[in-house]
Symmetry: C2
């Protein structure tokens, strides 16, 4: 009676039938979770609150404006109607911002090299992926941090390529073994694109490297026209230095990339309490204001160019001023921003899934889960940094990335939500079960039909009983993730370039990865 949680074991007949059912692969549209599921059931802000945030952002843009625009940016922005003040700050009349919002691209496709991985960003469609600029790799066996390399980056891309719940691969780390920044930028593209056919994100260091980067992308795509038709790389553009200053060089990078046909992630990464206001609402106001300025900028350079509204405010631990990406405050910031994207109807992205924990331990699990699930439920189109990120973005971990795929699978199941229709309400099933039926649902047709379409099963997370677990030798989660990593990296890379393309790239550029 007080054992309310008894484990019900399946009758062998039902189990055999279920096992057979599970052996057959599911059609893609029947999979329990997939990229682009629609969120939006979680709304931390009310309509009037969103309106106040919008009005405050307009005030900030109109009255405070942004400093440090490059000369070319000043031309573009004042040409569109922005005002250059005596203090060299650019201020944005409300009407200019509202007009831009009305005309901006509201339905962006981020292409994969393989069209199966295309992402449609609109409404509350949710996608999870990596991102960041970690400088360390987490060595879980050695419990230590070391500098990350181009091989680590390539391996991360290869791992992502086979993980169902990682939908895109923005480069999560910088190649610390390539001291020359031009070579680093070019090898970053190569390491990512040769590792995965999913959409890729990079971040050019200097305007002077853009032409070479585009040249490499044309080679990979098989021509500039093919690249422009389906640009499979976007640029993470830190176009502002919060609070309210344009990042002069990054703006020039952005202008060149717009010209080159690359989608732009307008990334505003303030840190609440340090480079953004400490209150969550204020950090959102500033991020929104900065991204609105960026949106005006992009549309002034080229109307309708695809630009993702990248409000990425982070959180400070105010005791030390250090960043804390694993906090509840971070989850709220990201979800609040996602709601503002919906308020504007503009595709947006923000950061979630960051752990402050140094290792993939219990702390990492809860930190990554809270912000990832809230970001998904809030309907964030692009959830960046969703897996593998430790030490508040300073470290990346392959094992954690693999476990993150399981974590995000569960988050996606939550995003999918609860279907309510005649069959799922189950009145007839309950009737058939209780009135003259078997008194349980184990072997019912409904249960058999739903087990694959409604339930997601983890790959590495352990659901055995204590007894089974003991009999299996008490498998360690991290050791299993390491084994999976070695298995993936031991297989032939699926995304490699064909030999001619690879040779052409290697003739044109110094590629650090061995051929």
């Amino acid at each position: 009676m007080n054992e309310h949680a008894k484990t019900v074991t399946a009758r062998s007949g039902g189990r055999a039938a279920r096992r057979a059912a599970r052996a057959a692969p599911l059609a893609d549209h029947l999979r329990p979770v997939r990229a682009g599921l629609q969120g939006g059931t979680y709304n931390p802000l009310t309509e009037p609150q969103m309106h106040r945030i919008h009005q405050a952002a307009l005030d900030v843009l109109e009255q405070i404006g942004l400093a440090d625009a490059p000369e070319s940016g000043i031309r573009h922005l004042t040409g569109a109607g922005a005002i250059l003040g005596d203090d060299r700050r650019i201020r944005f009349p409300r009407a200019l911002v509202e007009d831009t919002l009305a005309r901006a691209n509201r339905q962006i496709t981020l292409f994969g090299r393989d069209p199966a991985h295309d992402m449609e960003l609109s409404g509350t469609r949710v996608h999870y992926g990596t991102a960041g600029a970690a400088v360390h790799m987490v060595d879980v066996a050695g419990r230590r941090y070391r500098e990350c390399t181009v091989q680590d980056l390539h391996d991360a891309a290869r791992i992502c390529d086979v993980l169902d719940n990682i939908h895109f691969v923005q480069r999560p780390m910088v190649c610390r073994d390539i001291p020359d920044n031009r070579e680093m930028d070019l090898n970053t593209i190569y390491a990512c694109a040769s590792g995965t056919t999913k959409h890729i994100g990079v971040s050019f260091t200097e305007p002077a490297f853009v032409d070479d980067g585009l040249k490499m992308l044309h080679l990979i795509a098989g021509g500039e026209d093919k690249w422009r038709e389906r640009p499979f790389v976007s640029n993470s553009n830190c176009f502002v230095v919060p609070p309210m200053k344009f990042a002069t060089e990054a703006c020039i990078v952005m202008e060149k990339l717009i010209e080159g046909g690359m989608p732009i992630l307008l990334l505003s990464a303030g840190q609440a309490g340090a480079t953004a206001p400490a209150p969550i609402a204020g950090a959102i106001v500033q991020a929104v204001a900065e991204c609105l300025a960026g949106l005006v900028y992009v549309n002034a350079v080229k109307p309708n160019h695809p630009a993702i509204f990248g409000t990425w405010p982070f959180v400070s631990d105010l005791r030390t001023g250090a960043m804390s990406g694993g906090s509840g405050e971070q989850a709220l910031l990201t979800a609040g921003c996602a709601q503002m994207h919906r308020y504007y109807g503009i595709p947006g992205g923000a950061a979630a899934g960051i752990a402050d924990a140094k290792l993939p331990d219990m702390q990492a699990g809860w930190e990554q889960a809270i912000s990832n699930v809230m970001a998904g439920l809030s309907g964030l189109n692009m959830i960046y940094e969703a897996a593998g990120m430790h030490a508040s973005l300073l470290g990346f971990c392959h094992e954690s990335l693999i476990l993150g795929d399981d974590l995000i699978g569960q988050a996606l199941r939550c995003v999918r939500g609860i279907e309510v229709d005649e069959d799922s309400l189950s009145v007839e099933t309950i009737r058939a079960t209780c009135l003259g039926g078997p008194g349980h649902f184990l072997g019912s047709d409904q249960t058999l039909a739903r087990m694959q379409t409604d339930y997601i099963y983890p790959t590495l997370a352990d659901r055995t009983s204590p007894k089974e677990w003991d009999e299996k030798g008490k498998p360690d989660l991290i050791e299993r993730a390491t084994a999976r990593k070695e298995q993936i990296l031991g297989e032939r890379a699926r995304a490699r370039f064909d030999p001619e393309t690879d040779a052409a790239i290697r003739r044109a550029f110094r590629i650090h990865l061995p051929g």
Copy 2:
């Protein structure tokens, strides 16, 4: 430029001021999180969907009904207007259910022995606590499961007593070292109540043990009148055996406890795919139907008696039929139920925070976090099993309980949400910072004021940089939790009974814990 996540280190002046500010204790109403924060920003069901679930539950009650009511229950229920069929099932006319909903107790106070821990259950006020009937303790150092004892239970209560974010202590485990069920029930009360002054939940095994239990509670309270004035123990009453059968003995326990003045948790613990329909909506329909039957029952015995609507549907891993409390489906079930509680305006509770993981590892972190944060955001009044639960409820872990307090702290921060007002919007702060100001927010008055009221700092979760972490000897999360456990248990128990009361209890009953 591509280092968007630079750690901003505080200037020493600002840091010193912040440290000084943090030294002063905060008034309780200024604490960043507390019991009873209001959720409700997450709504997995639409209004029409909730209406359909309600109508389906009414259909189930009217057409299928419940079997196995005790004779006394048949008298109570038919007296209230329910119909006993030739098949001995009790069916509930729609009007009876609607009338009960209109008249039932909508504002329940669950008392603590210390009034500071009283919980007001109404609206979307959220409380987290323990619960369950684990049979194992998780020995983290030995990586093994062992049978749990009354000492383990008492220690869990003592640990909960000092954890800010554990608001109540329903007994999470059964005392496997007390073979006699009467002695077990009585020692469960003693072990919990002598360990904490927070509200306690127990679960009587047999009707024959209730009188002794109440007698002990009268002794603890200082008299029956004092007990009835502030009953600080509620009974977790598994009054149904899903699908749609009353648990005959448990119903008699319930009747006796209503008589004795004890609040009732009407607990329906079906398992989707096994003892409840596999679709999430169907499992909710059945749980709601069963709890509505329970609510009619309680109000037939004693109108307005405090009864918590305990829709606790669990999830099966349909590959094996075994329970999976750590799944995304579980989080959705619990959140959907929370919304139905709000639909009725009846205080409710459900299960969240369950890990399938055997140890407090990364899997445990994400499993506990996803359901706990979704339960809180959905405004669930009583979040049971929120901390310490492993192996799908079979194991309890003191270290995990302690870490769960940190996890729930972050979840509560998310429940609290985003305040939007003139000051938090921060337009003036941004202006002062950007126009002739320092260009950062580290030392601003607003940052100093908000750092304690708006931000919650974890107790054990590690936010150091990789360098600091290395210098500190790479502290292990679990080892730190064990150290904290030993510290708590090494201190004098705050909740112990006064010597006379203790002696009186020990004269009247065989108490297993040493005096």
